[in-house]
Symmetry: D2
Subunit: 348 residues, 4 copies
């Protein structure tokens, strides 16, 4: 019963097979392997962006920090949600990679609103050289609370950014889950809405450790390459990143896996919805569920080894009937039986 994260499950068997199959002989190192040529071509196809620059890095934090550093200057501030991964969970990696840029937190809930974003951007840089300068906007899709920006909302945020001449980055650690949930194309969710660069996640959706960074305008491509190397994220045996990504894209495995994950979450959510005393903190839209249930239920789940994060903190000596907030994440690999078992225990 593992619902702690989608970063702890197995590598998809097809990906592992691809690694094994590609493991023969010698391949040019440092990103110029033939497989990468195919990956680039395929991602350009998927994104309908024949000029896009495509790179692979091993972690989502690397993807975000390198992309944002490439889009920003050290004297700027990056606009993002107050619960953004780049703010809360990367130990200042964006600040490090950008050479000391600031993050301006927009909104208090799961998402940034267009008006909030406008106010935040307008509020900066009214003081000449004194304040931080306006920098890129970073949008997380799926959000860190399991919700989605609709295409309209995305366009709204990008329009605000564009109105100020600012580039837009998308943290797509769960890009596929969002795409499946919205039922749109990759182009619609990115450059057609106004996104300039995207961290296209793979690790949380069945890869071992690969994320793509895609720049729709390749003018900053060489700078990115230098930043990647300098950041120690250019793999010598790069083919093993390429092999993972190729397998991920092949036959739309990425779509299928995300759909499975979302379906699992929907199944779990449906079960939760029918349990009295359980409520959603955010309405689940992809593969993450934030729900509240009693401490007594948590105790039962805890005793059976169910793994998930308690989000609201753990207060000693609290009333067992009091609710706590939990994050439940489903990946493609979780079994329905596990979900059923979880629900059974929760029911008490």
């Amino acid at each position: 019963m593992f619902f702690a994260s989608d970063n702890a499950g197995p590598v998809h068997p097809s990906v592992m097979e691809a690694l094994t199959a590609g493991n023969a002989g010698y391949a040019p190192s440092y990103g110029v392997d033939q497989t990468m040529v195919e990956v680039t071509a395929r991602l350009r196809e998927i994104f309908e962006a024949p000029e896009a620059a495509v790179y692979l890095v091993p972690t989502g934090t690397a993807a975000n920090a390198l992309a944002l550093a490439t889009l920003s200057d050290p004297w700027q501030t990056i606009f993002c949600s107050s619960v953004a991964h780049i703010h809360e969970d990367e130990c200042n990696a964006p600040e490090f990679y950008s050479g000391g840029a600031k993050l301006t937190l927009v909104g208090r809930g799961d998402k940034m609103g267009a008006e909030e974003l406008h106010a935040a951007i307008a509020g900066e840089q009214t003081r000449g050289v004194h304040g931080p300068q306006r920098g890129p906007v970073s949008i997380t899709q799926v959000t860190e609370r399991g919700t989605l920006y609709s295409l309209g909302e995305l366009r709204g945020l990008c329009d605000v950014a564009k109105g100020f001449g600012l580039p837009v980055h998308m943290d797509g650690a769960r890009f596929a889950n969002a795409l499946v949930a919205l039922g749109c194309t990759a182009a619609e969710m990115t450059w057609k809405a106004g996104v300039d660069a995207v961290s296209f996640g793979g690790t949380k959706n069945g890869l071992m450790g690969v994320e793509a960074v895609i720049f729709f305008d390749p003018s900053k491509a060489w700078e990115f390459e230098l930043r990647r190397k300098r950041g120690a994220h250019l793999f010598s045996k790069h083919r093993y990143l390429s092999l993972q990504m190729r397998a991920y894209l092949e036959g739309d495995l990425w779509i299928a896996s995300a759909r499975k994950a979302n379906d699992n979450a929907a199944y779990l959510a449906e079960g939760l919805r029918q349990i009295e005393g359980t409520s959603f903190v955010y309405e689940p839209q992809a593969n993450m569920i934030f729900c509240a249930f009693s401490r007594a239920a948590h105790q039962r789940l805890h005793d059976t080894g169910a793994a998930y994060y308690v989000w609201s903190g753990s207060l000693e000596g609290a009333d067992p009937q009091e609710a706590l907030e939990a994050r439940l994440v489903c990946d493609w690999a979780i079994e329905r039986a596990q979900i059923d078992a979880f629900l059974d225990i929760l029911r008490g």
Copy 2:
């Protein structure tokens, strides 16, 4: 006929099997997987260092840059060979990770001499706050020219460093190759000689992309963990790094693979030695050979697709009998038949 580098060959089949075998179910992420516990225990055993702090990172540059940043301050200078990888081949990663430290280049050939090192260190920090302050010494073993520091030489360098109160880092991207060549223990080549932290290479010796960083004194361990996370080198699905490293250590695969690589290089060197017009720039000691042969021979090798680096630059219109300098690297996987073929073509 691939002699370009030891970072382009296949992953050792045992390692690939270990990855496949370990690919089931869920494992705690971000470095607290059970396999890592075993890796730490085994490396402590190998290094006879029961208190050592052990970490895994995906690239050699990450290992070096993070280790050196942890050992240094931004206002210091790091002492290293003028041909060190950290100086020549990491796109300023040490400068980036250290927050702007300097590198002081010692010596002009393959190695630093103890007297040169002493002079270089003594020459810094005679100007109070004005000059850079003295920082760590970084030793590359195997050197970038395929030669080795003897245990006596290592102790000599470390003694100089210790005399100034400076920590010592070893860039052991080819640690195993050195160990096999010297026939000593891991402890003898590191902490018993005076080394404080080591980048323990795996990628060039049959792994997909894993290096260990080992601090013999764990007092800086937590700082390293924060630097690793902030540098975006902490894998969420860390078990796949641990699985590689465990397989690497199991049954001394690392030793066996390095021995194979060294033996292949010795076989190639023996062949080269018997070809007239061919000479060694450095006497080969591990798995890298720097040798000179005629441009005409290079042309023949080039035409058959033999892969290796020309080290001395490529001058247009040069005399075909003139010698150029080539770097030939053997890994564990190169076949003897390939070496024989290479020698045949070289013979003309």
Copy 3:
């Protein structure tokens, strides 16, 4: 009628005389001038801190950024008010000098409350290496809104910081104004309350461009010296900084000047208080006044060349009777006649 800032007025005549008087012959450079010895001794006396390390730098931003960088690590977050100068007005200098630390904004008004601070600190570092680590607390006294932390409030904030083992920095750009207003000793307002390092302002109180940085615990003194040099803030002709600071301290000129400034502000405030349609946004406590008056009044003041900042933004086509918020700063040099003239125009 200059109320725009206390950083635009003249150097106090005594200070200018001291510069002229000290301008003869040669003096040791880079901070080891004899005058600096006297400055250090005098500041230790004033602060009742005989072991304190004392340094001079030319700007307030340098004082703050260097002090905070010395007290923090790049993976930490610095806790400060949401209107702190280090956040709003230093173009990411703290982020730059610290190597990429973050700022966590506490509270929404002029001050941080102890409970807010506690909640903010408690809210960080519950995620191991993932979130930013807890770093120093920075308190601005006088606040950026012209108000004061009482000694009790200061102790309250410092107690919270100490409870988490965090160091405390005070941005005392208007230290003297605060001291005079509180009627306490320098020791009471700093280390006796729990402050570890203070930016002791001079520039806004009659100097040309000098601030002292004082560390009550000198253990980080050498690091500060290196950071100051590396930041290019160590003056070669340092005696001219020392001469200013010595003159500032001599005969308690700093106290007298701050008292004048505060008295001028009190006189202005008293006048404002009696003008109908004028109200205070914050109750003035030192030498800065945030007050609201009508746009029509602003227009009159503007037409006569009165200089001050409009704080609430400038809306085109607004109702002339609508209020706007202005910041009025008095320094020691402003003449009462100017204040009277300002009040006359405001009265209409």
Copy 4:
């Protein structure tokens, strides 16, 4: 008998008077004072560069580090002499301000030769993203050994840089001394030779602490302004920098002072030349002399309190007849009587 440096003498009386004269009333802060308008106009005139961007900063290290950071990227290497101030005497300020760029040392003596520079630049960036990328060239004029680049040599170095598309910075901490010695125009010594940005020294030539940074192509001006602010080098009471610089330029005081300094040095050199056992390490060309004399002579000078740097280190128990190398610097203020006294003691 102070020959230790030109950074320890008095501020020129005219400059001090200008500071006093300008010390009345209020002036716009942060660089928009009216005096700065005049300074910019005058420097553009002097440099025959009507579009140049002109900035003032308080220290030479700030001028160099900010200019170089503006001209470089963090993944580049800056080419400079092995004895450059930016390498030896700024505690890694260029590395800090540039965000981790490297310095490549060219030559071993006082100057870089054009061929050496060409070889050094050509030697970098043959390894794609692996090595540091080629960055700006920094030329020190007067050199750190008191010698001069002729206009032809300057053009030669700049031609090499331009051939590689690299910008050129001039560290002109002693710009005026060089100009006077060469008898050329400021334009000839800078942009007409190919220099893109210059640190135009004032502090070593009679100012309290002001250097100008001049960009002949203003396209990076705004970036420089942000870097200056972020580096905490933008003075609030900026007029006091402007006043110094205006006085420095007025009536060509800068030229007259440099001429005095050079003449003083020539007078000293002439005296030294006639003392047996004294020889020049470098032929003096401006206001710095590197000469050798016996340890016995040094002992006599030391006993009378003569101040200068011993350059060759101090060996205990050495033969008193053995020569040591000393650096003797003359500024505009040193009196001939002091020089005569020095020579007398040296004569023994």
